[in-house]
Amino acid sequence: MKLTKTLLASTALTVVAGMTFADGHMANEMTIVSWGGAYSNSQQQAYHNPYSEKTGVKIINDESSAEAVAKLRAMNEAGNVTWDVVDVVAADAIRLCDEGLAMEIDFDEQLAPAPDGTSASDDFGDLLVSDCFIPQIVYSTTFGYRTDMVGDTPPTSVCAVFDTDAYPGKRALEKRPINNMEWALLCDGVAKDEVYDVLETDEGQQQALDKLATIKDDVIWWSAGADTPQLLADGEVVMGSTYNGRLFSVIEEQNQPVAMLWDAQVFDLDGWIIPAGLSDERKARALDYIYFATDTQRLADQAKWISYGPARASSAPLVGQHADLGIDMAPHMPTDPENAKNTFLYNYEFWADYRDDIDAKFQAWLAQ
């Protein structure tokens, strides 16, 4: 039975090979998960390359951040976490931490202090929104518009989105209720600090949807951050919401006739978490990487490649010029005082509670 033996042997080999592959971690590699595109590139330049040079650790990039919570939960259930460091938005980090899927960080012990000796927890300050989350950048979701399609009066307020008379044409909005509901209420006359109180009620939710209904036929709904910049560049929409770094890239790097609207932009955070359940060796390496990648200079370096503000107070003065274009980056940051005059704070707690409910209504409304 030579054939059977060969078969058995090869099956066994396949299984063994599969297992080694699934285990995946050679001695000196780590998998870092992020969002891809220009953002990952900025991390590659500012963090990964210098870290690999310094330590010889090979960094494998994975671009699954959009599904990080789902995947980490699945990995945790399977008992095989293959990621070492993960880049997520604050809301996801809070959720991961609450569910015990991310490791708690002792900020002052495990992160570098500022150059002047300020402890890490003071340096990050209010941005430490969760015990597991090491903020990296602050970003904003805001509107960009085509300068050549808005006539002589470029929009100055976010409510221009709802004004189809003054600004005819399509708009791009994200295909989810978060942010859109807030903007709708703001433009329907609700005061900024009452938005979430109104949105808690059924009537308030209906009010927001009714306001959105006034432009429903003029909206192209996007689900990937790159959609709006593309739609703007194609001239498909007159204005659209997206992340400020994407707009920066369209405006400054690609020279499109697009301008940015800094009004009621939604301020949010993005940063690292370390998955819970890593082996001691991998945990030590992940912590070492985090210590390196979130020190003052490194966070300031990232701003050379993308217009997101560094999360450390001590990094802000170090923000310099764009690595290729040579323009000053500070005025393009969401944290720049000129831009941050009228920001809107995203309420994590509210959306943790109301997301399921409002999303059901929003999607049913969309499908009507």
Binding site: T11, R95, D98, I220
Partner: protein, 546 residues
Amino acid sequence: MTDTTQTTGPMMAADGTTLKSSLSRALRRQKLRALLLIAPLLLFVLVTFIAPIADMLFRSVENQIVAETLPRTTEALTDWDGDAGEIPPQSTFEALYQDIFVAQERKLHTRLGSRLNYELTGVSSLFRKSGRRVEDMGEVHQDQFEDLDDFWKDSENWNALMGTDRWLAEQNAWDPKGTAAQPAFQPRVEISALLPETAATFEIFADFVQNEDAENLAKEDPWALVYSALYNDLLLEPDMSGYAGPGSAELLEAMGAVGTFETVDYAAAFEDVDEDWHDIEVWQTIQTYSPAFTSGYFLNAVDMKKSPDGPEMRPENQQLYIKLFIRTLIMSLVITGSCILLGYPVGWILANLPARTANLLMILVLLPFWTSLLVRTSAWKVMLQQQGVINDTLVWLGVVADDSRLALINNQTGTIIAMTHILLPFMILPLYSVMKTIPPTYLRAAKSLGATNWTAFWRVYFPQSVPGIGAGSILVFILSIGYYITPELVGGTTGIFISNRIAYHISSSLNWGLAAALGAILLVVVLGLYWAYDRIVGIDNVKLGG
């Protein structure tokens, strides 16, 4: 061997066994060999395909999380009448305190919160808040024990009191830096009899510290919950006379003192955390979702919900899924139909042209087929958008005005066009392979007998090509029902399929139960349609190859 000896008995094979058993052995061996040959595939399919699907489908009814995270509370709620309009009694709140305390140590309370939040908005933060505050509730007891006697402050004393001497010796001898496993906690029998609740709670604590936290039990102070349990046990005044082990004097002292201790009003304490705890709806939801299995996800998947009075429709402004199922089926039918219309002539030409030209044409069919799905979908975005190639051409030709360009994308039209293009090869290839086997002489014969072109085609050719249409339709239809990337990219809001919601619930909202229920319904629908197709057309009529 000579034949004379074997004339009457059964026929024998060369090795002396009966021919029958020899034959069946050979057959068995053959079967075994065949089985071994397919074994790797079988294993592969079982492990990577069937098992995950079964597991996923199981999630659509599974609901253990409520009873597992809140075991005492759900137990206490079994006798509670939710319709009576009163919140549960104090004892239920105490059970809730104990459950949430353990759950927050295990970090399960937020998972439960998210689970129940699917049913009742606001529960998510209710649990998160409560998790942060339960420790304070128990500290009332802890502080009083510690004020009474320093004995209660020390983890060593607790370990000596709760564990057996042998375990204690092992634990103290254990080297936390060494490779040996931490000796598993063993409860002291006398204490378990005297202080049952304390012993049970301490065991949970010890198990958590040793196994989940992987910390040294000798160094960890007990949870506040253990003090609350001790308080409860001592209030019952157990008979201490027979106990002379470690801590007996302190236990007696504490038993004398607990009567004067400040008590905790758990109901008030939870109301203090959030007044929603005194909302009947919260308790009704916990009670409704206590059983280990639930039809809740399936009801949700057909726009219904579970209420204390049984299933009912969701409010009009939340109904979505039935609409999406119907839309998915109708659009898949339309896509299948347009694939037949476009693919049939192509298949016919391919089958009837000389081989050289046919091969060239075949490459034109296959090239897009080999191109990445994403590339083709993105290409359609460029083509169909309002400032896109097609609209530009139409404006240039003067067919449409510049300010009324056609909306060809981000709606149903976009989905139908893009998916028809993407799935077309799945229609052409089976059609071609069937048409190739239809002898052209039949058509000629029909015509020579006086049939018109149409009659010859319709009465002679077409019936023979039906198996190809059947195969192509089944392929295209079933593939399109499950599509989600293309509709997501070009479908806008009116052109998305049910699969887009499944993907959303799996990767964004993390409502895996609902996703599983939607998936299960989709699976049943597909199997049902397959069955109907078999009854009407007959699955034997489907031909995928020559």
